[in-house]
């Protein structure tokens, strides 16, 4: 019996793809870009994310569940497609790599200042490879377990309740941003929702009726709630100016936890988030693998996966310090945001052209 991804697993995948290293700096980014009570801005941007998902569901409906590749190949000649696939594949590997490297560098700074970050990244890539060689159902199973392993960490926020004060949220809306709020500020923040567009590559593995899209919406709404919750907790715990001064407010707030048997849990808790980060990298890798399989359909088992993990590791050399990874993540996410909207629009246009051609063909007949 061939398995199909159901909405629950799609929801968890969507949530875990979007939850990455940016969560730890999110309260600061929001404070810098939007000022006070920026969580309202996150809610507004989440609606844009929903619109993005709607575009993909439209593609799914119009294409009757056909995969991205099938739609493109039905309209464009092969000499155009293969360079496009290759570029897309490399870009996805780059995004996955840079997200992973960013996480590793933060961890290295926190716990292993003298260790070469590439050594840690090698293990990260190995984990990614181990997941990539499995099918998407097994990946989704692993991600589901990772979700349960990390989800309970949210309970740690109860520790801050005694120190949390609503007055710190201030009654002002979008005041005190570092620069004047512009379209650029909004696009910068929107990058936290990047990832749900990868549902495009799940089309062939889910039911054709599109009920699983419910999972993409739920996953997206869930991550929105998590972001809003994290921002509210941080904003009520730290003052607004403190938030702007801290690089990673979430990590700093974790350092506050002191239990009778364990202190300073931040590097343990932060390490747990590697699961969600690896998930993001793996799904980007999976998207890349799907594209590469179209170019090299007869490749031996696990070769392409190994190549992807190898290139991911190779891209890791492009950013060796935190400032570089931040810049790379920001740039990559910006391009990915553009792709997230342009790909479904392009596919809708292609599907309309295909439909017109069919209509003309049937009229002639």
């Amino acid at each position: 019996m061939r398995e199909k991804l159901n909405w629950f697993h799609v929801a968890i995948l969507t949530y875990m793809i979007q939850l990455d290293v940016t969560l730890f700096s999110l309260p600061r980014i929001i404070a810098e870009k939007l000022g006070t009570n920026g969580w309202i801005g996150v809610l507004l941007l989440s609606l844009v994310g929903i619109l993005n998902i709607f575009l993909y569901s439209l593609v799914h409906r119009m294409g009757k569940g056909a995969s991205f590749f099938d739609i493109v190949e039905a309209s464009l000649p092969k000499f155009m497609i293969y360079p496009l696939y290759l570029a897309l594949a490399l870009f996805y590997i780059y995004v996955g790599s840079i997200l992973g490297k960013s996480f590793i560098i933060i961890f290295q700074i926190m716990a292993f200042p003298t260790t070469n970050s590439m050594f840690l990244f090698l293990l990260y890539c190995y984990m990614m490879y181990c997941m990539l060689i499995k099918d998407i159902y097994s990946i989704s199973k692993a991600v589901t377990v990772f979700f349960f392993v990390t989800f309970w960490l949210g309970g740690l926020t109860f520790y801050y309740f005694s120190e949390w004060e609503i007055v710190r949220l201030t009654p002002f809306l979008f005041k005190g941003a570092t620069e004047e709020i512009s379209l650029n500020s909004w696009t910068d923040i929107y990058t936290i929702f990047v990832g749900c567009e990868l549902c495009l590559y799940l089309f062939p593995y889910a039911s054709r009726d599109g009920k699983w899209f419910k999972g993409v919406y739920i996953g997206h709404i869930f991550i929105t709630l998590v972001y809003v919750y994290v921002i509210i907790v941080s904003s009520g715990f730290f003052s607004f100016h403190q938030l702007k001064a801290m690089s990673y407010p979430i990590i700093d707030s974790l350092a506050f936890i002191e239990l009778p048997f364990i202190n300073r849990v931040e590097n343990l808790v932060f390490a747990f988030f590697m699961f969600s980060n690896v998930t993001s990298s793996v799904i980007y890798g999976f998207a890349s693998l799907s594209a590469m399989k179209r170019i090299f359909p007869r490749m031996r088992k696990n070769v392409l996966e190994f190549v992807i993990a190898g290139i991911t590791f190779g891209f890791g050399f492009t950013a060796q310090i935190l400032r570089e990874t931040d810049k790379h993540v920001s740039d990559a996410m910006f391009v990915e945001t553009i792709l997230a909207f342009s790909i479904p629009l392009l596919l809708i246009v292609l599907l309309l052209i295909q439909r017109l051609r069919l209509q003309k063909g049937s009229e002639r007949a």
Binding site: M1, E3, N6, F8, H9, F107, A111, F112, L120, L123, M127, C130, M131, K134, S138, I139, S140, K141, A142, T144, V145, F146, F148, V149, E258, L259, P260, F261, I262, N263, R264, V265, N267, L268, A271, F272, M274, F275, V278, F296, R298, M299, R300, K301, V303
Partner: protein
């Protein structure tokens, strides 16, 4: 060159040879041929009954005296040929047309009767072995204490006595080119998903091996992931456990000569439940299941966490504990990784020695080990007090897991995680745990997910996985069994 590399990387089409039809030559059974086959078998007995013109061949140590008297000695002593022919028409005397079947029958404890160019088999076998006894590896506090034994007939009778239903069906198969071990599949006809029965039957029939002597050996020949460290079939020596699996819509399998049976499909979490859970109040059963999961986590990461904290993350230790720990560690000349690996290995040596020795000497080993790895090791400066607590706690926690096979697998994996913790601290532990999860996610059993009911998710099954829900709430059979007959109980009116 590039072309050559690409060729190497590309999948090569596999040439499939057309199946060769093998026709087996049928040799009619005869006394001479049979005796020829068993040349130099001192335990073979050939007896003649001249008056009846009848010959009997059997293995002396496989047959029972009473059975021999009943079906051979009394009916054919002092009878004429015509009387013998009449008696051989009785249903217990089965005519055989093939010499191979005749030899197989003799090897199974039957007697071959050769009469007027016709051969008959009569079952006069006498089972030997211990009578039904308590399982030593799976003990329970409350509940039945009988366990399976090496005798297949006894084991099947125990099942039949527990499930008195005509829907309990059995399929007999044979495994092992040399050992010809009998394997019996047992299932409930109207509950089981027949595709599992078919799949299991196919897999067993496809086994090409000279001998199979144990259930745990057989399951390794039919599992989906032969290279995995984890046991993929639930094996048990307890009849009540196997009967509950059969009733739940799973397929059970017995192997001749083995005191354990297995059931399938199996999930990872099944290994954490014990029949005991159902014989106690549900709150207690639930607490025990949670305790086992905590035990599993302690076994996996507690020693590794000690290594990680004392090697890389001293800041995680509360200052009230820090002084004691540093004092304890100050006398130890080894790094925490070496110290932990040494102690874990010692514990494993003690466990293995205790398991191999007779129980009375095994107790002595426990006492000696307790002194050696306890007080003496600390005084000698070999290890710290706190590591002993960590190692002992991990060892105790591992024994909470009811399945010995699962417990042993987890203990072995723990070494890998300790090693990763020793070189990469908390990051290493997380990588280790992540790799285990990734590995588990790829395992399937009879085509079903090993991580059921987490992935694929089935929240209803959680009631009987992470907890032991009250009986009124456990109304459905597990989703992994894919049964069409889902309802197993109705609420009390």
């Amino acid at each position: 060159m590039v072309k050559r590399i690409m060729q190497l990387l590309q999948e090569q089409p596999v040439a499939v040879a057309p199946p060769v039809e093998q026709t087996e030559e049928v040799i009619p059974p005869s006394l001479d041929h049979t005796l020829d086959q068993f040349t130099d078998c001192a335990d073979l007995v050939h007896r003649s009954f001249p008056k009846a013109n009848l010959d009997v061949v059997y293995f002396a140590f496989l047959v029972g005296n009473d059975e021999f008297l009943r079906d051979i000695a009394m009916p054919f002593s002092d009878v004429t040929e015509s009387e013998a022919a009449l008696r051989l028409t009785q249903s217990q005397y089965m005519p055989v047309n093939n010499s191979k079947d005749c030899i197989k029958g003799i090897l199974n404890g039957k007697a071959a009767i050769f009469f007027q160019d016709v051969a008959f088999l009569v079952d006069i076998s006498h089972p030997i072995g211990r009578s039904i006894a308590q399982s030593e590896t799976e003990t329970v506090i409350t509940g039945p204490h009988d366990g399976f034994v090496e005798n297949l007939v006894h084991n099947l009778s125990v099942v039949r006595r527990r499930i008195k239903s005509s829907h309990v069906k059995t399929v007999t198969l044979e495994v092992g080119e040399v050992s010809k071990t009998i394997v019996v599949l047992v299932y409930m006809e109207d509950i089981v998903d027949m595709s599992f029965v078919q799949m299991l039957r196919d897999r067993i029939q496809q086994i090409e091996v000279d001998s199979v002597f144990e259930t745990n050996q057989l399951v390794q020949l039919i599992d989906d992931n032969p290279n995995s460290l984890f046991p993929q079939f639930m094996t048990t020596e307890r009849p009540d456990a196997i009967c509950s699996k059969i009733v739940a819509g799973r397929v059970a399998c017995f192997v001749e000569g083995s005191p354990s049976a297995f059931s399938c499909p199996t999930s990872f979490f099944e290994f954490f439940s014990s029949p005991d859970d159902y014989y106690q109040r549900w709150q207690l059963g639930t607490a025990l299941r949670i305790l086992r999961i905590i035990g599993f986590l302690i076994t996996m990461i507690f020693t590794a966490l000690y290594v990680s904290v004392t090697t890389f993350h001293y800041e995680m230790i509360p200052h009230t504990m820090l002084l004691n720990l540093t004092e304890s560690r100050s006398k130890v000349p080894f790094p925490p990784l070496v110290e932990a690996i040494m102690m874990e290995t010692t514990i494993e040596l003690l466990r293995e020695a205790g398991a191999r020795l007779p129980s009375k000497i095994g107790q002595t080993i426990g006492i000696v080990g307790g002194i050696v790895i306890g007080q003496a090791a600390v005084q000698a400066g070999f290890t710290s007090n706190i590591l002993i607590i960590a190692v002992a706690l991990s060892a105790i926690a591992s024994f909470v897991i009811p399945s010995y096979l699962m417990s042993a697998s987890i203990r072995l994996i723990r070494f890998g995680i300790i090693f990763l913790a020793g070189i990469l601290g908390n990051f290493g532990i997380i990588v280790g745990v992540g790799l285990v999860v990734i590995h588990l996610s790829g395992i399937t059993n009879m085509g079903t997910s090993y991580l059921t009911p987490i992935a694929p998710i089935s929240t209803y099954d959680w009631l009987d996985t992470f907890a032991r829900g009250p009986f009124w709430s456990l109304r459905k059979r597990p989703s992994q069994a894919r049964t069409n007959n889902e309802v197993k109980s109705r609420p009390r009116k």
